[in-house]
Symmetry: C2
Subunit: 317 residues, 2 copies
């Protein structure tokens, strides 16, 4: 349930908003469409998280340039990143997938596609329980749904950010187009650790881009944010890409899509503990503070503050 | 988890068989990939049924000839038919869907697509809890996953047929290409009624064609079948189609795909009760008997028996 394609289809957000208004939810659905995953109450303590994503040739991967393995891996990993974004709250994970393949694809391709899926599944103890295969006279597409049953941990949503919260991010941002968008590690382990040990108020993954996903948190939480320009962790790929595109590395880091890192907010006290936590295998950076009102503001090195637009993923293929 | 496209992609069954061999299932998965839906044990009494399907323009519906509404309705109804095939054992139903749309599709099309989905969902108390939308430079495809939580009724599988069982079918068979393949009623209500009131040994829906789906039951149950040629309920559409194709109506009824009727086996005693049951809104017909060994045999009006091949869905678009 990411929306990485927002700048390709002008009306996607409008369409999804319209759809959400058509649906009446029973009380069992306690996290609705519009977060990284939906949640259904199974009983007092247990719940089911569900997320679904589709990836399409020409948008999410390239024909004859992306291996079947990478495509399969990405299809499941994207949904796993969505489950991570819910605070990794589910522990028994199950997946189904559908594949629409171009005609006469070699068996080798179809098999490596599944092997890629299975690689992602095995890494996070996901059981693939079913699927459907079809041919299509056009671009290949893969759709995956992951279901997770949880009990001990509380699902984290986009709507819990509080004024004064630190805004935190895992890993380094930007430049995923150079490779990371295919071979990333969903931050499920880190999300579980953070959710178990600390008071986290809001969480999302970065799929549309840091600013765009922060904007989702802010809109859902009815808050604003100040980001510190010199605190944004910029990936090596971003520096490389920036030399090619002549755009600022900071801009890439804030707006490139498909980082699949965690973006979360927590009280500053907790943030300080997290920054010192050596058991996290991935670096965590404090990049800003949640405020009242609305909008995203960027503070530059000299202390100057300016309002910025939550632009997201724009890489054209 | 139907496989309506088996004759389009030569290796689909081989591919799915190969996939099934790659997967190790934890004990929580008590009905595995290869039935109409998979089943996960939630606790002693409760379980989760999951089924997924993809429909593709050019195969499952035609560009500019099928309305958005019909496409949306079909995408969910196919998965609902799979849940019916499990004896309608789940009662709380939830769906997610992904849509890959051609660029610049009118809003009207996208909206009617969702309205079609919602029509199917509302008819059977399914809550649509999430989805993903993308564009694709080619044929539109829609993937749907339905999850159902059950407790009171036992899921029925393809593997329980016993020697001497009556082979039963709901409705009339064949000719779905003339319209029924888009606007059918998943037999969820009937499946629940049958599962609740009678001892049903095996159940499936007819998606690949009566013979092909019977063959699945026979292979899973390690049995054979005799069908009575003069007992096959032939639909009006089949007679019409038969005049166009010059093929025998019986052949259409036995091999056309996408009837989305129920095919089930039960002790003859139960069958006789079912045939007299006036509370079923759809006619049920006894079409044959389960035997030992393997193969499907057809008995003609004069009592002659010949072995027939389990040919399935072949309609070329």
């Amino acid at each position: 349930m990411t929306s990485r394609k927002n700048y390709y289809m002008m009306n996607e957000f409008k369409y999804i908003n319209w759809i959400q208004k058509q649906i009446k939810y029973p009380p069992s659905v306690f996290i609705k469409s519009g977060d990284d995953a939906a949640a259904i109450r199974l009983n007092k303590n247990r719940f089911l998280l569900v997320t679904t994503d589709v990836i399409v040739e020409g948008i999410d991967f390239l024909r004859n340039k992306t291996s079947g393995f990478d495509i399969g891996y990405k299809s499941l990993a994207i949904s796993l990143s969505d489950l991570a974004a819910m605070g990794g709250a589910a522990d028994s994970l199950y997946a189904v997938a559908t594949v629409a393949l171009r005609p006469k694809m070699p068996n080798r391709f179809a098999q490596s596609l599944f092997r890629g899926m299975k690689k992602a599944a095995d890494k996070f103890q996901v059981t693939i329980i079913g699927g459907d295969v079809s041919v299509v006279q056009g671009p290949t597409s893969i759709s995956s749904t992951i279901m997770g049953i949880g009990q001990k941990l509380k699902p984290l949503t986009r709507s819990g950010a509080r004024t004064g919260d630190a805004i935190m991010v895992t890993g380094q941002l930007g430049g995923s187009i150079l490779g990371k968008h295919l071979r990333f590690t969903p931050r499920l382990k880190e999300a579980r650790h953070l959710n178990r040990k600390y008071r986290i108020n809001a969480m999302s993954d970065i799929s549309d881009g840091c600013l765009a996903d922060l904007d989702h948190i802010l809109k859902k939480s009815k808050k604003s944010a100040v980001l510190f320009a010199n605190r944004i962790p910029i990936s090596r790929a971003t520096w490389q890409l920036s030399r090619q595109t002549k755009k600022l590395a900071l801009k890439h880091a804030l707006t490139d899509g498909e980082d699949f890192e965690l973006l979360f907010t927590c009280p500053v006290k907790e943030a300080l503990k997290i920054l010192k936590d050596r058991s996290l295998a991935v670096p965590v950076t404090l990049i800003g503070i949640i405020g009242t009102g609305q909008g995203i503001f960027l503070q530059d090195v000299r202390g100057k503050i300016k309002k910025i637009k939550p632009k997201g993923y724009e890489h054209k293929l």
